[in-house]
């Protein structure tokens, strides 16, 4: 089975990737570090997973070639599970991409990465409630020290596609 790591640039996808696969892809504190995809492997309870670190993208409307690589990757891997990595301190815009991917019918897991930074900025996210509304697994993570990564792995199997309508209903429908 394939697992795609998608998310905005500079949210920690590559750190998560290194954690999951034991690889050593380059990590930097600027957007656009990863411009090509990297494949890695992990084994969970005897099952083999291919994990793919994808370049960061702000939305599924690619604006440069690195983003094109990301969008193409998503389109090619029709039956992949997507781990959507977001920067918890910028949760709203992170949800934008997450929704776009959910709308396309992919099973998604939401990793609320940089949880530590959100706390420093006194941003409190109710992960359980978010999980409930979105209908997908939502896991707070701090990729740089590995917090939440185990949880993330164990939830991969729980990801299922969600209808946007369901999400809309939960928050009171379209106006």
């Amino acid at each position: 089975m394939k697992v795609l790591l998608m998310g905005h640039p500079n949210v920690g996808k590559s750190v998560v990737f290194n954690r999951l696969t034991g690889a050593n892809v380059i990590i930097s504190n600027y957007p656009g570090t990863t411009v090509d995809y990297t494949k890695g492997y992990m084994k969970v309870k005897g099952k083999d997973f291919t994990v793919i670190d994808v370049p960061g993208t702000f939305s599924l409307e690619a604006k440069d070639k690195a983003e094109e690589v990301a969008v193409k990757m998503l389109e090619e891997e029709k039956d992949a599970v997507v781990i959507c990595v977001v920067d918890s301190s910028k949760i709203e815009r992170g949800l934008y991409l997450t929704l776009e991917i959910i709308e396309r019918g992919y099973p998604v897991i939401l990793a609320l990465n940089m949880w530590d930074i959100a706390q420093d900025k006194s941003i409190h996210i109710d992960a359980e409630k978010l999980e409930n509304i979105l209908g997908i697994p939502v896991i707070p993570t701090i990729a740089i020290n590995g917090k939440g990564i185990k949880d993330l792995v164990s939830k991969i199997k729980d990801a299922t596609p969600v209808e946007t309508d369901k999400i809309l209903e939960k928050v009171g429908g379209k106006e």
Partner: protein, 412 residues
Amino acid sequence: MKLTVDERWDLIEKISKETVIFGVYKHTVKDAIGELTVKPLTGIPIAFAVLYGFWSFFGSFAGFFTDGFFVKLFDEHWLPWLQDVFPGGLGNWFYAIMVDAGHMENGILVASDNCFESFGVLTSGFFLAIGVVLPAIIAFYLILTLLEDTGYMPRLAVLIDTVLHKIGLHGFAIVPTILSLGCNVPAVTASRILETKKQRFIMMTLLAIFIPCGAQLGIMEEVIPDTIGFVLLYLFTGYFILGFILHKVLPGKSPEILIDVPPYQMPMLRDVAMKLWMRVKGFFKIAIPFVLLGCIIVNILYLANIIDWLANVLSPVLSGWFGVPKETVGPLIAAFLRKDLAVAQLSAIEMTKYQMITSVVLVSIYFPCVATFMMLLKEGWKDLLGSIAVLALVVFLYGGLLHLIWILLGVA
């Protein structure tokens, strides 16, 4: 079901209202530094200081290890020892390739007394790769990694945006450019962060022609410490002139900068060490085989008299148009494989300071090394053909211009 941009934001707002509480944000010292380094009045002087510090560290770190340690090790111990024990001896072809080709003095073949002149795979090859280039590469990537991991790069991008905008790029093009000063290969791929085909073409062409890599910079620091400043100035000027021209003549759009400026962050020792290790390792995988292969090929071409023949054939162009000794043909061939090797070989050729500057500039601009070439090919052969056409013109004109400058100054 797919939502429109506004519907999606609307939904997010609702979700956020139910699940997120935004507390009061306290500004920190990091934010203050963040602002100081991105505002023009304070940011630009700081940027100059940072880049100057970068360059000084690069020079002194590399110099410390190369001059203080490796030169002695290789010239006083390694070379004499090999000259002693390696089978064959001066005049033997295999000995010439591996250890020392020697050189003619008053009609007699004499042994070399340093690793720049010996040209052997085991002597020059290893000396260059380990004694000169390795310290340079480590120094370069150490600083680069710090700049990257703290989060300084995007701020540099904002500060330089106005300038790069004039050549059809935008501030973020500083990332491939600086990466390129380490090695052109990853820099070519990094050009993907630019939005349009036009921008990527300009970027890749400029990188391939004008930006010397870390290995080459290291060798230049070693063999032309007095004139390296001028060489770099000439190259960077070329970068802007060509960029400006390409921007004017090429069709297509040049969108403006649109990037996130992340908060500063303390680099983590483990990450820095790991990245440094990965990059040095990556460099070695590309560099060592080509440096050694380069030594072998050039030696064989010398021994087979092909270099002499080529030198005579190309003499009108080399000495006539560019004003450099025809013997530079050897290094120019080596430059296909490795620019560092080429510059090192130049240093063994007798010529004036000015000819040396021209030859080093020529070696830098005249063709991307084979590893870069393959990478450009991977990004698209049509663009590569275009880049090479531009390159040929630039080498001829910009290389010739330097000769003209020397003539006008009366030093040619």
